[in-house]
Symmetry: C2
Subunit: 199 residues, 2 copies
Amino acid sequence: MAVGEGPATSAASAPVRRSRGSRLTADDWAAAALEVLVADGIAAVDINTVCKRAGVTRGSFYWHFSDLGALHAAMAERWIAETREVLKQLGELDRLPAAERIHAMTMHLLDDSNAGVERALREWGRTEPTVAQMIAEGDRFVFSLVEGALLELRGNAEEARVLAGLLVYAGIGFAHGQAGLPKPTAEEIEKLLSLVLPA
Amino acid sequence: MAVGEGPATSAASAPVRRSRGSRLTADDWAAAALEVLVADGIAAVDINTVCKRAGVTRGSFYWHFSDLGALHAAMAERWIAETREVLKQLGELDRLPAAERIHAMTMHLLDDSNAGVERALREWGRTEPTVAQMIAEGDRFVFSLVEGALLELRGNAEEARVLAGLLVYAGIGFAHGQAGLPKPTAEEIEKLLSLVLPA
DNA sequence: ACCTGAACACCGTTCAAGT
DNA sequence: ACCTGAACACCGTTCAAGT
């Protein structure tokens, strides 16, 4: 199938909202690209497709971004800010006992509606330092939440730190998917947390 | 810098051994590509570079492989077979107590001379089902070793299964690197295992 | 300031032709 | 059976020109 012709590529909906005025802003681009990523996967996030989604030509893209990596960075920034908000809300349930906070975060992780974006960002982070930096920041934030909860539960700082590392690394491994291991069931998660947190 | 001219790209050593006769075998290609990967990273594993390393032209490549994905699969096969051998030897130290077997496997994981290849394969696995399948098989193998050791230690099958999952997922997460968390020290590993395995 | 459209380099893939 | 070398399509990037 040729590029310029033929019917709509994927079920492209409205040609992207423009946040202010009729011109595009960098954040509009990030939003458009994120939509493409969620809808059609990482392979679809190329300049042609994103430009089509945004309703402009390729040259326009390079007025907003220096290269593809800069777009990826913008996407990462947007995504991680959103995730941070969600986690902060989960974490700010300070009235909830620590065990339930960890439980809530675990469940959020298992929800795979985010997993696709998460994986794509980590993949780009491998070659693009700016993206890697943002991911690292996000990981440390999650770690701090888990560590804090574990400290409440166990009292011992070293145990809390070491176990938090184990849980967060496991979460990252799980987020990467394609592990060949069966996705743990809710009951297995319960069992696991009952082993790692004190009874 | 143009493609066909200029001084040696990277410190390319001998132009690849040919395992039988003067013609190339598919496994020679995989070996050459693995060398490129280890030496210059995932971005360097393109057809031009690998062909240069193998000392032939691009057309030759397509006589041996249908496309780049097929090469990746061959690399994965070679690599996973080697890893399996190493782990089997670690695992077959049956006279060693189970705790020390897990300890040995953990240390093998922390050794980052393998980490680069590991990451690249998982990345390719995301788009290439053949590679993904092999990785999945490798992960299940590791899981079975860890689960077996934990069963010996704990007696309880469900605990062994659940904790093995946690450890293996954490290993995968760690292998992906770029987590933003500090690499655990040897002492922290000791502490961690003393918490997860029974004292 | 923001966008178009044509150009270029690079890389994966194909294929007819050689030995 | 195995390899060469030229061709083609595709995609990231640049840039002069438009409004």
